[in-house]
């Protein structure tokens, strides 16, 4: 368990009151210490953007053009911003799939697989229900089934970690490849819709069985579900004994065992919840965007979600804004490609720059005295 990144979850982990002076300015201290967790990731984004700008100049493209197209394609107009929000929904949910296990000390990167399988499970379950059950019942059942499937899938990685000590990072990524293969197996075989000769897909849900838009917007309900889940998960992690037990386990595995905490159940439960979030993302991709399950489900949201969660320092309340930022970049990808004649992997390169610089910036924590509370200067 000792291989997880250090993620102090709140200021109280860092600063214990050391004397009356500290207690007096507790709030100021918290602000001061917490601002480090905002300033350093922002600095990392700035440095990564600068490096990416140099990269663009080196290949003869203008970084200013890039910024203006990302703005226009992702944020500038009401239409593009709604598109961005739509794209950020799966990012929020797959980021949660990384953030929740991180709390218990696990680096799970199986969100993509849980998304694909969850979406596929929803589409498969829909086939016998279309025209039989009313849409609202069918959609709720599909969402539940998608979450169960995703939860089961990532839960496997959690269970293997606890029961057999299998490295969860590798196993969750392997499960992603297996999950995509399972979907392809069915979509190209038993569950293929033969009336669609172009792309192997399951039977379409049809308009009546699609998730609608949030009234007054062009954004589907997945976005609202993502925000709601972020709040619920935050409360679960920070305000319940269940979340506290998980934090203890993540902080010190042996201590948790010695305390008699049900470590195995906690690990499996947290992995399961994480997978359920990603599975729900798959449900919305199928029931609100694609209308059927096919290979386009594996669009890489699960991988961008990893970056979103790390940037948000695995804090559920910070995930939505970060996800919206990246949703915008992903949404603008097409425009950037066409107008600047850049390959479609441009966004991936930018994400790679940000991810690498962000993790490098981990080394900066505790280096700046400006963030250090004066009363605890002698502490490290």
């Amino acid at each position: 368990m000792s291989d997880a990144p250090a993620t102090p979850s709140s200021a109280s982990d860092l600063i214990q009151p050391v004397g009356p002076k500290a207690a007096r300015s507790d709030l100021a201290l918290r602000l001061r210490a917490n601002s480090e967790y905002v300033a350093i990731p922002l600095l990392a984004i700035a440095i990564a953007s600068a490096l990416f700008a140099v990269f663009l100049i080196a290949i003869g493209k203008s970084p200013l053009d890039f910024v203006s197209y990302v703005w226009r394609g992702g944020f500038g107009t009401a239409f593009s911003f709604q598109n961005t929000l739509q794209r950020s929904a799966p990012l929020i949910l797959t980021a949660l799939a990384v953030a929740i296990p991180a709390r218990i000390g696990l680096i799970m990167i199986g969100g993509e697989g849980a998304l694909v399988l969850g979406g596929f499970a929803a589409a498969a379950l829909a086939i016998p229900m279309i025209g039989v059950l009313p849409p609202i019942v069918a959609l709720v059942l599909m969402a539940i089934f998608a979450m169960l499937t995703g939860g089961f899938w990532v839960g496997i990685a959690g269970f293997l970690r606890y029961a057999r000590g299998v490295n969860e990072t590798i196993s969750s990524l392997l499960l992603t490849y297996i999950g995509i293969a399972i979907m392809n197996f069915f979509v190209e075989g038993a569950l293929r819709d033969l009336s669609n000769p172009n792309k192997p897909s399951t039977k379409p849900l049809g308009d009546a069985y699609m998730v609608g838009k949030i009234p007054g917007t062009d954004v589907h309900w997945g976005f609202a579900a993502g925000i709601l889940l972020c709040i619920l998960i935050y409360l679960l992690l920070e305000r319940t004994t269940f979340g506290f037990a998980a934090r203890v386990t993540g902080g010190n595995y042996r201590a948790a065992l010695a305390q008699g905490l049900p470590v195995g159940k906690l690990i499996v439960a947290f992995s399961g919840i994480a997978g359920a979030c990603a599975g729900l993302a798959g449900f919305f991709e199928v029931a609100a965007i694609q209308g059927r399950a096919n290979a386009s489900l594996a669009a890489g949201y699960g991988f961008t979600g990893i970056l979103v969660s790390f940037l948000a320092r695995h804090n559920p309340l910070v995930i939505p804004p970060v996800a919206i930022l990246f949703g915008g970049i992903v949404a603008a990808g097409g425009l950037v490609q066409r107008r600047m004649e850049l390959p479609d992997a441009t966004v991936q390169v930018l994400e790679g720059f940000i991810f690498v610089v962000l993790l490098t910036s981990e080394t900066l924590y505790g280096r700046f005295s400006i963030f250090k509370p004066t009363a605890s200067k002698d502490r490290t």
Binding site: M1, S2, D3, A4, P5, A6, I107, I109, L160, Y162, A163, R164, G165, V166, N167, T169, I170, S171, L173, L174, L175, Y177, I178, A181, I182, N184, F185, E188, G189, F303, I306, L307, F310, L342, P343, D344, A345, T346, Q348, V349, E351, G352, F353, F355, V356, L358, L359, T360, E362, T363, Y365, G366
Partner: protein
């Protein structure tokens, strides 16, 4: 029916040799890196970037061997990046590996776009099947010279780790960083070098993918081979020789799908494509333990507990 089984077995033999080569290179590179006590999960990205660079270099220069070298250099660059970042305090090597994986794949796809169409000169194979009349056996024994290079590297690596001063330094750094520091060894420098050399080997593995088998460059070229090779090192218990055996086993698993296809069994193609992943997972389950760390594991390794 017997003929069909024979054909499948021969195709699996040939497939095992062909498919195993990239596994072998990545596993050997990762083996060296992990021997020094660090994990580089980013070798999947290195493999893909190596494949792209090799293809591009071979296309522009007309010499596939320059492509192999270029892939190694590109892989070393990624390895050096990983090695130097992880040398900083408080940086988590597993997380950096994930980032390097996404970075390497992104860069490879970015620069690889113009090379999807054209064909580059490929590495020649050595026809070891000259003694037989069976065309399928002849085909199976078309072995690429990189396969033998890999075996030689495995032998040299195994010997050097056991018998040279350099090998002792790497093993000391991997087993106990404090002991290495007490000996006056720069732990970070040793790990930087092993990660760089590991990246070189993984890059060469990528060159095999694009220049020999499957022998073209596209975005679906590698899907997890680099990652599986990392898992394979755990299975091989950090021994270069066992890495070769493990790579052959994985190669055979990876060859099941295409071999069955060669006799017309296309049912469950995707299922058999998943066979290597399932095998990897099964092996990890079988060889890991919840209570004690794996045998022969370098003591400094943060992964696998």
């Amino acid at each position: 029916m017997n003929d069909a089984i024979l054909t499948v077995l021969i195709a699996m033999l040939g497939g095992a040799i062909r498919v195993s080569t990239p596994f072998m290179f990545v596993a050997l590179g990762e083996c060296l890196t992990e021997k020094s006590g660090r994990v580089n999960l980013g070798l999947e990205g290195t493999l893909v970037l190596g494949a792209m660079v090799a293809y591009a270099a071979s296309y522009h220069t007309g010499s596939p061997w320059i492509g192999v070298l270029a892939a190694g250099v590109a892989g070393s660059a990624l390895g050096a990046m990983h090695g130097s970042i992880c040398g900083l305090p408080k940086v988590n090597d597993v997380a950096v590996g994930i980032a390097m994986m996404l970075f390497g794949v992104g860069v490879a796809f970015f620069f690889g776009k113009p090379y999807i169409q054209p064909t580059a000169p490929r590495l020649d194979s050595i026809p070891l099947g000259f003694w037989t009349d069976s065309p399928s056996l002849k085909g199976a024994l078309q072995v690429n010279s990189l396969f033998f290079v890999g075996i030689v590297i495995a032998l040299v690596l195994a010997w050097a780790l056991r018998n040279t001063r350099w090998g002792l330094v790497v093993r000391t750094v991997g087993d106990s960083a404090p002991a290495a520091r007490a000996m006056g060894i720069s732990v970070n420098l040793v790990r930087l070098l092993t990660t760089t050399v590991g990246g070189f080997l993984a890059g060469v593995g990528g060159a095999f993918l694009s220049l020999s088998y499957p022998g073209s460059w596209n975005q679906g070229l590698s899907s997890g081979q680099g990652l599986m090779a990392v898992a394979l090192v755990i299975f091989a218990r950090w021994s270069p020789i066992r890495c070769v055996y493990a790579a052959l086993l994985f190669g055979a698993a990876g060859a099941i799908g295409p071999s069955l296809q060669s006799v017309g069994i296309t049912q469950g193609y995707y299922f058999f494509n998943a066979a290597p992943y399932i095998l990897t997972l099964a092996i990890m389950i079988a060889t890991s333990s919840a209570t004690h760390s794996a045998r022969d594991m370098p003591g400094e390794l943060s992964m696998a507990k």
